[in-house]
Amino acid sequence: MLREEGGESTYAGDQNHIIAPFALNRKEAQDVLCGFRRNVDSEIELRDTDASNLIRLREVI
């Protein structure tokens, strides 16, 4: 299950924190969300380059 969170970016240079472009197509979003190289505690941040659009997704197990 993925929890969607708004608010400020929490990026701290952590490898568990994945940043992806906000405007992902369906396949790209799927790839990010089920990344085989992703540690399960990862936080995924979808944002525009200027961070004007930002969604943080955290997988809740």
Binding site: Q15, R37, S42
Partner: protein
Amino acid sequence: MPNLIGKNGRLFSDPQPGADEVSFKVDNTSDSYYNSPYYKQHQDQVLPIPSPRAKPPRMNLSDVLDDPFVQAIQAAKKISFHSVGDTGAAKSSGPATEASVADMMSADIRDGGSGAPAFFFHLGDIVYYFGESQYYYDQFYEPYRAYDRPIFAIPGNHDGVLHDAKGQTLQAFLQNFCADQPGRSPNAGGLVRSVMTEPGVYFTLDAPFVSIIGLYTNVLEGPGVISSQGGRYPVSDEQIRFLQDELTRLKPMRESGQCAVIVATHHPPLSADAKHGGTEGLFQDIDKACQAAGLWPDAVLSGHAHLYQRFTRRTAGHEIPYVVSGSGGFSATPPMVNVPPAPYTQGDVTMEIDPVIQFGYLTLTVDVSGNNKLLTIAFNSPKLGANYDRVTVDLTKSRIVKSGSRVASAAKKAAAKSASKGKTVRPKAKSKTARKSRN
């Protein structure tokens, strides 16, 4: 057939192995330590890596098995071995699941004749939850009491993690797997198996036709860590230098077709497991070492995730199986809920089959007897049978020449049969029931 006797009187199995135990000899209460203040305070910290006893840390199968045994493998131009991780059983349901895997592996040895696997390379998490010496009997020596072959191991996170400040990381692992000399283990409870004499917790095992570079991925539940990753983790970079040096050393032998090269880690670089995911930093560390050495492994084996997964990585002109088999008996875990059905490709990685949530183990075979030098990796399971899934790599071309699971091939046959009748059939592996079971 009499039990094997290895170099320097090494013994590998009990002469009179009894029936499987149905309850633990020592009650396992170690999960209570998860609430210890020390563990809670330190659970996100990596621990120092014990220095190897020999540098470079390297050993040969012929250091352990007697000369006629090794010569027979060389004459056959073919070697098989077992591999799996996460065999420890700490829960009351554990002895049965762990024993089911260990018993099938032991039967492979007993019934396999001259082609039986030569050894078992364990992928870590031998003893849950904190690698305590008092649980080595129930979780290692007893289940493998009839396994009449040497057992090598890299530690998993549970073998190294500490629950209090009095402990020393990997203490029991070092005593049982990295001893100076072969001999009895104080933890074997009277069962016969000589302690192993690995040169360190990360090391290369050179065997006829195959070299396995085993790495120690430290104690975090995730991610796996083998280097400081540029200062992110307070551990030495010695292990990543070792990996690069070993790949460089093995390159001429690999290129002349003398051996396959396998990298083994406890934490998986790639995983679709819901609880034990992949590890970007580890993945990149291995890649950097391969690029610097100019040699890619023929396969990457991992445990940690308690199921079976098989990926193919296509990079630098190679097709490399990344196989996860943390399916040795401890607590099977499901895959992520949002993973599409296999085959599913992300970048240069393809998940080849839907993850298999069953206990089981790998049998790897390197066969250089024919014109084509082949590495085959098969997944065997007490519930699903032998060779449930397998992949074969042509070592000359570094290409996968054959692969497939029994489920996939059954689906393919059904589809072909149906097509001949002009009907359309949905492949069994992707049926509604199969998809539903994952959610």
